[in-house]
Symmetry: C2
Subunit: 347 residues, 2 copies
DNA sequence: GCGGGCTTTGAATACGTATTCATACAATGA
DNA sequence: TCATTGTATGAATACGTATTCAAAGCCCGC
């Protein structure tokens, strides 16, 4: 065994040095406790001398609150998720809670990661990735840990969550493209297990079919939710000469759209929106850079995170089935330059 | 008081149900413990029935190891840091440890955040941001928590760390620009408190001065380590007509370089590298996108993270002053298209 | 049948803090 | 002066697990 690290001072040590009881030390460090001014000062002085800081893990044991929240993120290479994580860390920090970060890359091991998270008695779990099986429901119910799904939802609406109107987003993009005269559409889809991609695709398709676009006019390829895969995938599709080329591409997330844009312009030498129009969804900063100026639907991250934090404030509600909220916020259409703007005078 | 959440099952509950002692339950869940096969199975069965999962926080109390590592990141909007965080979360997860994420935006509150982290008895602290005062040293020494600085270093070399040869990086960029014929240089600096920006600037200047570039030929402006600030700052500088324009710009980090690039091309209508050359440092993915193809020096993130993990493995060493390692890795020159390549035949 | 090693077991205790409980004390009002 | 409220205080206990310790059971060869 390694020699143990220089054990940090405990409340008992401080109590001994200050000549008070351990309880007094505890009280000295918790605001609003009943303790006299000079005794508190004596304690704090002794604490300072010993480099004492309270051990929050130990207090978790007593209070049954760890002040830690597990945040499960998917691919941080997707700026949408790093922007979200940033917002969560900052937000929780402000309310004195800490973020225990988990990353799930492979869709399959999502449950396992959740399991990991549960070993720590986190006060809540925020899930921003991974299609989560019904196991989650059991965990939430059995262990009483509130769960909030961010940018995800289950059909059953049995778990609280915040997400955007993704069907509406898909439809809005479809509208923009259709009214700009597009006729042959290509969808670059993300993770088919995730509700986000699914809903956007569905909204897009539904709008077009309702406008009389034939099912054969809507093609679909896989972009694996990443820049690289989308770029490769789209390039391959365009180089395969056997089918007519689409004139409008909807990549269901911005990061994928950027991959497509680079494939089109750099790899294939096409002009956007001249030769083909393109749009994404999410509204990541990178898409706003002037080199891209991508047409997209922005998700209001700040608002979504704020809402999530609020939901967790009233954590009790999250366990009452009748109080479970699934909030759907509207996205904001950002008219970039990758889809032609509608003409002013013609309807 | 809120009604308490449905208390999760404890090892005692399981023990009672399985008709064994609590110690047996603990043993059933720790591999390599001396327990008979059938008893372990009985315990696991009972545990399953009660949705029991061991409480790792409670075990931390006994074992004095929390299996949590604090990672303090700066601005996650800088992709370099989100890429790093991603690597850390993944890496730690693989070795069964969890990341407690802290974000420090304002340089001033760095110490305070560290203080926060210390409340949790994390096994180690990884610092990827914030100029950290000597307070850190005290904390590390007084509490015996190992600290590793990532992409940062103190002059004193009293804290272990991994970082790149930033002076060398600055010099290499200077060389590329100088040999491409640049004469008037502009540095867009980042956080002047951080060693990274400082070293790069220093390496850049030193190289040029040694080559006979007059001090007046090197100008410096502030880019505040962000895309937006750099873009604004550079645009303002170029629009101010009172001084001759530089013909080479070194933004000390890629994210700032991208801001500069968009300022030059989009806002100012200049050609890069035709009218002015530009380079950054870090090697973020975004800079590699074909719309930018930024000339830069890549930091080997994976290797840096792996090294950090290794250092933490031998955490004991981190407390022995004689064993403290400060590792400097070489960066890799990435010849993009924003600095003209050197001609083949002419020296 | 018996001592010597091995594995398995449960009781007891430690980990560091918060909280409860009962006691002691100070301040107040009459 | 005494009774009354309110505040300060420390002893004891709880939180959930790991570990130590001693006892108990087992198998082996002699």
């Amino acid at each position: 065994m390694a020699k143990k690290r220089p054990t940090r001072a405990t409340s008992h040590d401080v109590a001994r040095l200050a000549g008070v009881s351990q309880a007094a030390v505890s009280r000295a460090f918790s605001a609003g406790s009943s303790i006299s001014k000079d005794k508190r000062e004596r304690v704090l002085k002794a604490a300072h001398e010993l480099h004492y800081v309270p051990n929050k893990l130990a207090s978790s044991l007593s209070t049954a609150r760890s002040n830690m929240v597990a945040v499960i993120v998917g691919n941080l290479n997707n700026p949408f998720y790093s922007e979200s994580l940033q917002a969560f860390v900052t937000g929780f920090q402000e309310s004195g809670r800490q973020v225990l970060a988990f990353s799930v890359t492979d869709a399959a091991d999502g449950d396992e990661v959740v399991q990991q998270a549960v070993y720590y008695p986190v006060d809540a779990i925020v899930v921003t990735a991974a299609p989560l099986s019904s196991k989650l429901l059991k965990i939430s119910a059995g262990l009483g840990i509130p769960i909030v799904m961010f940018n995800r939802h289950l059909d059953s609406n049995r778990i609280a969550g915040v997400h955007c109107d993704n069907r509406g987003a898909g439809a809005r993009i479809a509208e923009a493209m259709h009214s700009a005269g597009a006729e042959r559409f290509l969808i670059v889809r993300g993770d088919p297990e995730g509700s986000t991609s699914r809903d956007r695709v569905e909204g897009f398709r539904t709008y077009l079919l309702a406008r009389g676009v034939p099912p054969t006019g809507i093609e679909e390829i896989d972009g694996a939710s990443s820049y690289g895969a989308s770029r490769d995938s789209l390039r391959a599709r365009f180089r395969a000469g056997d089918r007519p080329r689409p004139d409008a591409i909807y990549a269901v997330s911005d990061i994928m759209a950027l991959g497509c844009l680079d494939a089109l312009r750099t790899d294939l030498g096409l002009r956007v929106p001249g030769d083909v129009m393109l749009a994404g969804s999410d509204g990541i900063r990178q898409g706003r850079l002037s080199a891209y100026d991508l047409t997209t639907i922005r998700q209001p991250i700040e608002q979504m995170v704020a809402t999530t934090l609020q939901m967790l404030e009233s954590a009790e509600d999250l366990k009452n089935p009748d109080m479970i909220q699934v909030l759907e916020l509207p996205g904001e259409f950002i008219p970039g330059s990758t889809v032609p703007r509608p003409p002013r005078d013609k309807p």
